[in-house]
């Protein structure tokens, strides 16, 4: 019998990590990630998880310890959020350049100033060019399952790339849901022990790591890393299919369409807002409107080809961003616009920005966005939702 529990997103992550049997967990507390690292610590203190839990003095050291342990072939997890992610930013390209399969949970949270502990997705956008595979999850179950899947993805010797799993702060991290906890033996089957990659430090064949490469070699290292990241799409799908076979639930590719096949317009979402948007799509579909949704699960590497497959060439596309790149637009919008251009898409695109600093995005807001996409309502190229004053 499958075991269910009533868990918040953080606890679900902690169970996912525990089931993945990491060798090392290094973490520094930051709201709203704390419950995840507390729960993992509880597992360790109770003897339910055997691992080296490193109580580091900062996020910079959380990532640096992870770099150290991963570079000797240990399965390694860390978690952070917001300012913490920004503080460890130096370590992100460092880890990916060294091809270290670290897995990290980032509880998406607003960036100061003004200070704010609530959820938006600004933090993750700072990490876009760092060479980490970036995944967004919709609910607590997906958060748990993606922990297990992410270790398998990161540690695959064809991938060897760190993975960051983004989970919306509070909306997911602190909200309780019914979550199925897989059996340990099934997870052990699915995710065997990590196999030390040949380029990592080991007794038998000592290695120099995180080397320097001058202008004669540096660009080749970087472009090779870039090219190899593309392999993640196929592996990501493959792992999910295997997961579905084993556990009876799967999540699909890097982008998952919902009522997209005959849709005249599509809304692109990432993270927990996807659930709300699906409800709105259902409602509008009942009213005969040809609307659809694209759930963006992976934003690095960016699934350009998949986007082409999922939307017809002339469909109107709206992108819901819970972030803003000051002085420009939402970052998902920039990415999707560029991908659409490469795909010779001719439909209009709109950017809807909402949820900043934990502001609600309501079903009514999303209905309004679809009104714009259906041409029933005029809007600027970039518009802001649920503002409390005129600007």
């Amino acid at each position: 019998m499958p075991k269910y529990d009533f868990l918040n997103g953080n606890e679900a992550v902690a169970y996912g990590v525990k089931l993945s049997r990491p060798h090392v967990v290094s973490a520094y507390p930051i709201t709203p990630q704390t419950k995840a690292v507390e729960k993992i610590a509880q597992f360790v203190q109770d003897g339910d998880l055997e691992c080296e839990y490193m109580h580091v003095e900062s996020e910079h050291s959380a990532m640096s310890c992870a770099i150290g342990s991963s570079s000797v072939g240990a399965r390694t997890f860390t978690a952070t959020s917001s300012q913490g992610l920004l503080y460890m930013l130096e370590g992100l390209p460092y880890a990916s350049g060294a091809r270290l399969p670290i897995v990290m949970m980032n509880a998406n949270r607003s960036i100061a100033t003004p200070w704010n502990i609530y959820g938006d997705q600004m933090d993750a956008m700072f990490a876009l060019p760092t060479g980490w595979i970036q995944i967004f999850v919709e609910d607590a179950q997906e958060a748990l399952d993606m922990m297990i899947q992410s270790f398998k993805l990161a540690e695959d010797h064809e991938i060897l790339t760190p993975v960051m799993v983004n989970m919306d702060g509070f909306v997911l991290s602190h909200t309780y849901e019914k979550v199925q906890i897989p059996e340990q033996k099934d997870v052990d089957d699915f995710l065997p022990e990590i196999v030390t990659a040949p380029h990592l430090m080991q007794d038998e064949n000592p290695m120099s790591m995180c080397i320097s490469a001058g202008n004669k070699h540096n660009m080749e290292f970087k472009i090779k890393q870039h090219k190899e990241m593309e392999k993640a799409f196929e592996k990501f799908e493959e792992i999910d299919l295997e997961f579905e076979k084993k556990f009876g639930r799967g999540y699909g590719s890097a982008i998952v369409g919902y009522c997209h096949e005959d849709a005249e317009c599509l809304l692109v979402t990432a993270g927990s807002v996807t659930g709300t948007a699906k409800n709105v799509v259902d409602k509008l579909r009942k009213a005969g409107k040809k609307v659809g949704l694209l759930k963006l699960r992976m934003i690095r590497p960016f699934p350009i080809k998949l986007l082409k497959e999922l939307c017809s060439n002339n469909s109107t596309i709206g992108v819901l961003d819970k972030n803003i790149s000051f002085g420009y637009e939402g970052s998902l919008f920039t990415n999707i616009n560029s991908a659409l251009k490469q795909n010779n898409h001719i439909g209009e695109t709109y950017n809807f920005i909402g949820g900043i600093g934990g502001r609600d995005i309501t079903p009514e807001n999303i209905e309004e966005m679809f009104d714009v996409l259906l041409g029933n309502k005029k809007a600027e190229k970039i518009s802001f939702y649920n503002m409390r004053c005129e600007l």
Binding site: H23, V24, V56, E57, H60, G68, Y94, I211
Partner: protein
């Protein structure tokens, strides 16, 4: 306890060679000799700095050991991360060792070092102190001594060199209640080697702070490295001590100090010192020695 190490019984195997350090480099000498004691099973971490810049240049690697360059601020974090990873993977008696310079230790790396010592797991940290940011071109660090010329504390018309005293990293580390800490000098190599050996035998964190002259940054002949490091001790400007079992111990008490000029004069970084400044340096030295003689085991 092993026999005392000396020039006759030390391992002849070279673990660090073919690097591009300057002639007479005290830091690379410290690294090379320490590795003979630590052995080829030790996992080495070094931050961005001279030692990593001269030894990890693709495709030429100068370490026979497993070795990694760390982000500048995180020598101790990466070192303890390696230690934790090796331990969790079941390696018997893993040994991770961090080497960092004065800036990498006392300035940008002090937080990670403090956190790592606090966690209490075994690792060795060796600070190779050449008293300025040499890799970037001789800028002042928190361990640059009073009076020294650096490129960010030049001898100006108004201000003559560095006006701040050197941070006491040894006692800062000891204040953590660390298992073992020691100071050393490249002028007393056997003493240094045996301290590395002692650190290796301890179960918890240990720290060695070794004064390692830099001919390029200090402005002295490349043949004088060892002699200058020895004179630092003999003039009383650098102290050889240990912290063990919660107590400070003085290792070497010169009967009388050599004149400080013997240490300072061969170095261009001090050539501008006035008699008044020499007096201040003497005063800083004497105050510290008064404190040591009163509080340490002598």
């Amino acid at each position: 306890m092993m026999n005392k190490l000396n020039a006759r019984n030390i391992d002849t195997q070279e673990l660090f060679y073919g690097h591009k350090a300057c002639g007479g480099c005290g830091e690379s000498l410290a690294l090379r000799l320490a590795l003979k004691v630590l052995g080829e099973e030790a996992y080495i971490a070094l931050p961005a700095g001279c030692m990593s810049a001269v030894s990890f240049i693709y495709p030429n690697m100068a370490f026979k050991n497993n070795a990694i360059i760390t982000p500048f601020a995180s020598t101790a974090a990466v070192t303890t991360g390696m230690q934790a990873g090796l331990k969790a993977k079941g390696k018997k008696n893993p040994l991770a060792v961090g080497f960092a310079g004065d800036g990498g230790t006392a300035d940008i790396g002090i937080q990670a070092l403090s956190g790592a010592i606090d966690r209490g797991e075994k690792f060795i940290y060796i600070c190779t102190d050449n008293e300025a940011y040499m890799n970037t071109g001789i800028q002042k660090s928190g361990l640059t001594p009073y009076g020294s010329h650096t490129t960010t504390t030049p001898v100006g018309k108004k201000i003559k060199g560095n006006m701040h005293k050197k941070k006491n990293m040894f006692e800062i580390v000891a204040a953590h209640g660390i298992e073992y800490a020691a100071t050393a000098s490249m002028g007393y190599i056997e003493d240094f080697l045996n301290k590395v050996q002692k650190a290796k035998e301890h179960d918890g964190p240990s720290y060695i702070h070794v004064l390692a002259p830099c001919p390029t940054g200090w402005g002295h002949g490349t043949e004088l490295t060892v002699e200058i490091a020895k004179n630092a001790v003999d003039t009383g400007l650098w102290v050889l001590g240990e912290y063990e079992d919660g107590k400070f111990k003085l290792n070497k008490k010169p009967k009388e100090f050599k004149p400080i000029e013997e240490y300072l004069k061969p170095q261009n970084r001090f050539k501008h010192l006035t008699n008044e400044m020499l007096g201040e340096i003497t005063e800083i030295r004497d105050q510290y020695w008064d404190y040591i003689l009163e509080n340490w085991e002598v």
